[in-house]
Symmetry: none
Subunit: 236 residues, 2 copies
Amino acid sequence: MAQPDMLLVEDDAALAELVTWHFTREGYSVRQTGNGEEAMVMVRERLPDIVLLDWMVEGLSGIEICRQLRRAAATANVPIIMLTARGEEEDRVRGLQTGADDYVTKPFSPRELVARVAAVLRRVRPALAGAAITYADIEMDIVGHKVKRAGKNVALGPTEYRLLRHFLEHPGRVFSREHLLDSVWGHDSDNELRTVDVHIRRLRKAINDGGGGDELPDIIRTVRSAGYSLDMDLAG
Amino acid sequence: MAQPDMLLVEDDAALAELVTWHFTREGYSVRQTGNGEEAMVMVRERLPDIVLLDWMVEGLSGIEICRQLRRAAATANVPIIMLTARGEEEDRVRGLQTGADDYVTKPFSPRELVARVAAVLRRVRPALAGAAITYADIEMDIVGHKVKRAGKNVALGPTEYRLLRHFLEHPGRVFSREHLLDSVWGHDSDNELRTVDVHIRRLRKAINDGGGGDELPDIIRTVRSAGYSLDMDLAG
DNA sequence: AGCGACTGTCATCAAACTGTCACCAAAATG
DNA sequence: CATTTTGGTGACAGTTTGATGACAGTCGCT
């Protein structure tokens, strides 16, 4: 999930556009509405990774949306950030008690809002905020020890995992077998150089197999007489 | 842990007393210091459940304390709320990026601060705020010490309960046996690593058995050579 | 003391993972 | 084109790792 999915519930069109622009630029996918009931529909359509919620919207009030989201098991863990007018302390307290994860006071600077959202995401879904490494259509969730290719989970053995991680941390770079033995197996490893080949094969097999016998493009490039590299560029 | 343990780092004596008074009244146990280095010592003495951190304190600056806490594995997950003077937006953004969980702008109302702290605790350590924790079809009622899977009550021994609770507080994350022994059994435990396996099995048996011999999907994932995690995502 | 629930450790079994080889295919080399 | 070099592949035996069932010790309660 390289692109966090944000739902923005805000009826001030100008503000909504500003916020949308900023988060789109940050790599978020943003859906927006100014109506509370519509917001609930959109949540059901697709579960957002985070909800920005204006306190005063038509249809359902912010507090009501918040409560409904928290009540349903499916949406209970979706982080919510409230947007409140300045000084409405009552509302803020009530909002936090209702289950909002954070609030931001208008007027806010876009930069601050972005930092806030990132902070909440980092906490709730580390994979969405830096604890994950991404390259092309590969995604590695470090804390969860999980790997996805084109959205599908990929099962890797420990060594293949470490190998892929090494590549992901230096994408595009070519590594010799010696170097890989050193950094993936450990400085004291006295394995055959060809052992690397075998694990490269295993990694390829695991990561290029798209489920039903399909073949995804090979993302590991063999550089003759030099080594291997992670590379999505097929021609070239 | 009915009584959350708070560390207050604030050098304005009057303010410190005010805050202490309020949180004590709310049932917190509050330790206080006005010096940054002393704060680090106090953290090491006993791990607080939450840190309130004035941005400007003697000894070590707030940002430095924050960074040091985040760096050490033992303290990386302790929630931190910064107290900043009004309008220092730069600092706030920087603070959030450094890893603070939230900030409150002076002057603040005690009531708001209490709500903020409660919100952060609810998020990071739901157990301390009395709420229930939910993940997939598992439900843990902290105050009632009860667990449900798919709506049905599940009987757990004390250790299995703590183990599951730890997983629920960090869903999706992989924990090594060492880490689990540390955080579920206690820092001073000198048990065999394999003890964890056994309790994982007991937890699995209890939680995957759907009553009449039915088998619910295993929600605990074994990650070879790494540890275990709570994970509902079977295919992907 | 007796009972029952809970714990920690072991020995054993099964499965997953690893490293090496021999052999084949492809690419360079002359 | 023949030869040499380099990488791909399938098989295999050894090793590591996790799952499991059994068992004895501990604790709290009656």
